[in-house]
Every structure is written in C-alpha cells, then in structure tokens.
C-alpha cells in the first residue's frame, strides 16, 4: 500500500514540477521577448501546457472527490479561453499591419 502511495506521490510531484517549469518559462519569456506575438506565444504555453500538467499532478495527488470535477472544469475553461485570447491578439496584430515578428509593415502602394 505504501509503495503504491509513494508511486502516486512521485508521479504527481513530477507532473507538478513539469508544470512549474513551463510556468517559469512563460514568465521569463514574457519579460525576455521583445514583441507581442513572441510574448503571447510564451504566455500561451504556460496557460495551456503548464496549467494542464499542474492540474493533472494535483488530480493524482488529491485522489477522486468532488474537487476532481472542479479541477477538470477549471482546466477546460482555461483551455477554452486562453488560446482564443491569444488568437484574437494575433489577429488584431495582423489586421493592424504588423508582421509576425512584431514590426509595423511598411505598405508600399
């Protein structure tokens, strides 16, 4: 029994460490990159993969209860909102005449 619990703890901890790694990557990327699309890419990575790994780790650590359902709903909501927000930001960038690397396009007419 204890062996099984140790295995569960190790798997959960590894997943949460991976999620923390992605979140830290997202934070550093937000400061490090120079333009909106690159920063958005970094933040989107943290908001999807990092959140998923963190919450799956929490699920494994907590076990089955009502909170499992709540955690799954939170992940679903974040997965539905965050990529759409990134998509809209990128769309606005392109519609306002920015190239993917964040420079203003000089339209020669």
């Amino acid at each position: 029994m204890t062996v099984l619990e140790w295995i569960r703890f190790l798997i959960g901890a590894a997943l949460m460490l991976g999620g923390s790694f992605f979140m830290i990557t997202a934070v550093i990327g937000n400061f490090r990159f120079r333009n909106a699309p690159c920063r958005m890419h970094a933040a989107g990575l943290g908001d999807t993969l990092g959140i998923l790994l963190l919450f799956v780790g929490l699920l494994i650590l907590c076990g089955l209860s009502v909170f499992t359902l709540k955690l799954i709903i939170i992940v679903l909501l974040l997965w539905m909102t965050s990529p759409v927000a990134s998509h809209m930001i990128m769309r606005m960038q392109i519609e306002n005449g920015f190239t993917p690397d964040g420079r203003k396009e000089n339209k020669k007419k």
Binding site: I28, F31, R32, R34, C38, L77, M80, T81, V84, H87, M88, R91, T99, P100, D101, R103
Partner: protein, 309 residues
C-alpha cells in the same frame, strides 16, 4: 554591494539584454531584424548643461525612491515588531465586535457566509452607498460620453454613424463565446443567489453576469441586446433595485433599533430561502453591478446603448 556574477548575468538576461553574442548571419523572419541596443558610447551628445540637468534629476529620483522605500519598509517593520505575538498570553482578547460577529451572526442574520452577513446585515447602509456610487458613476459617464442625437434620430457626430461597429467575424471567437456565455450567465446567477451560503454575493456575481453580457456583445453584435436593454430599462432596473434595497433595509433597521418585531423570518440556516433579507439585497446589488458593467462597456466603446432614446 555587488551581486554574484552569474546572478547579475541572469538578471540582465531576464531583463532582455543580449548577454550571449548573437550570430549576425541569423536569418529568417524572426531573426533578421533584431532591435539593436544602442551603444551607450555612441549616444548623441547633447549640450552639456541640459545633459547635466537630466542626469541630476535622474540621480535625485533614484535617491528619493530609495529613501522612500527604506522609510516605508522601516516603518512597517517597526510597527510589526510592536504587534503582540501571535497566540501570546497577554494579547487583547476583548475585541467585542469580531466576537459578536463570529458567535452571534448565524442566529442574528441567519447567513452561513459570515462576510455576507456583515456587509448586508450589520453594515447594510455601507453597501447601499457602494451601489449608489456605481449608479452615480454611470450617470456621470452618460453625461460625459453619450453621443447626442438630433431630432431626426441621427447621431450628432457623423463619424460615429459612419464607422460600423467593430464585430470581428471570427469563427473561433464566436464558438468560444457561444459555449462560454451561457455558462458564465448561469454561474453568475448561481453566485448571486448563493451569496449567503458560500463565497460570493452581489458584487462578484454581478460582475460575472456583466462580463458575460460584454462577451456576447463582442462576439455577436449588440443589435439584439439593444432591443431589450435600452436607457430606460437600465434606469428602471437600477432605480427599482436601489429603492427596494433602501426600503427593505430601512424597515429592518427601524424595527431593530426600536426593539420592534420586524416580521422578517430568518429561515433555516443553510437553505436557499434563509438569512432574512440577505438574498433579496444580494439580488438588488447584483442587478446594479451587472447593468453598470455593461453600461460602462457600451458607453466607452460606442457612446451609448439601446436603440432610440
């Protein structure tokens, strides 16, 4: 004080400085035009007097900021050191207000959520003032930003009439809004109605409802909502909510202060229909907050809401 070298390098790297040399031949759309950092040695020389002035100012600014920060930190630390120890023997335990709230709240106000009992029962006029502040803020914004109409119904500012409303024709955004908007509305209503039983209440639930309405308008345009939600609807909803709040709470305070029987049943703690007046007051506050959020959005984005007057 000097930072260790690796730490300084790491901090500079996070700040965005090019710590490691970048090969100049890196090409492709994402590498070709790196923003080159201006070399500090090649700064265009400004006239000496002006440069000294700005330098002095920036030095003064940094010194002042350091002094202010240190003063605040020292003050806070001194205050903290004067606080009684946590769980100590000689702490002042005779805090009657909080004892009263914690011990008697359930039988006096009937709300399981003690915070709701405090803000909507003991301190209900404070919350009424907050709701009134929202109403007055929207009134001021209407005075300032509403686009005037001429007698024939056209806008006074022709540029507003000619620019079509920004409605991104985006299938991804629309699908997400279609799924999320009803969920948000239902969740907001749940938070308002459940405010006396769990965390939540009128302000947070109203904010969720208002955000769902804004999401709907962003995704699908405001033609359909404009037919329902006009200026007069807004006026009457807010007015009715505030008047209901005032009358209910005045009755409750009047009878309570004079030792009369108020006749408001407290119900069974834990049930939806319990906690006396807290549920209707929560609904009033939620209505005001939801309408205010939507009104702010539409006033700032297109100068009005509702068709016609």
């Amino acid at each position: 004080m000097k930072l260790p070298r690796f730490l300084a390098v790491f901090l500079n790297w996070v700040e965005g400085e090019e710590v490691f040399p970048v090969p100049e031949q890196a090409s492709g759309p994402f590498h070709s035009e790196r923003i080159k950092k201006a070399d500090p040695k090649k700064k265009p020389q400004t006239p000496g007097r002006k440069k000294d002035h700005s330098k002095l100012l920036s030095a003064l600014y940094s010194a002042l900021s350091v002094i202010v920060c240190l003063t605040v930190i020292l003050t806070l630390l001194t205050t903290v050191s004067w606080l009684p120890r946590f769980g100590g023997d000689h702490n002042p335990v005779e805090n009657e207000v909080y004892t009263r709230y914690v011990e008697r709240e359930l039988e006096e106000a009937g709300a399981v959520n003690t915070v709701a009992g405090m803000i909507l029962d003991y301190r209900a006029f404070d919350t009424l003032g907050e709701s009134n502040v929202l109403f007055i803020a929207v009134c001021s914004v209407i005075i300032l930003l509403r686009a005037d109409r001429k007698k024939d119904g056209s806008l006074n500012i022709p540029e507003l009439e000619s620019t079509p409303e920004e409605k991104p024709d985006d299938i991804i955004f629309r699908c997400a809004a279609m799924i999320l908007m009803p969920v948000g509305l239902v969740f907001g209503i749940y938070v308002v109605l459940n405010g006396h039983l769990s965390a939540g209440g009128g302000f947070s639930g109203g904010a969720i409802i208002g955000a769902s309405m804004i999401l709907y308008v962003r995704a699908f345009g405001s033609e359909k909502l404009d037919k329902v939600f006009t200026f007069s609807t807004y006026k009457w909803i807010t007015f009715a909510a505030l008047i209901t709040y005032t009358l209910l709470k005045t009755w409750s305070f009047y009878t309570g202060a004079n030792g009369l029987e108020s006749g408001i049943p407290l119900g069974k703690p834990g049930a939806i229909l319990s906690a006396g007046l807290i549920l209707p007051l929560n609904i009033c506050v939620g209505l005001v907050v939801a309408c205010t959020m939507y009104a702010f959005y539409s006033l700032f984005s297109k100068g009005g809401f509702g068709n016609g007057q």
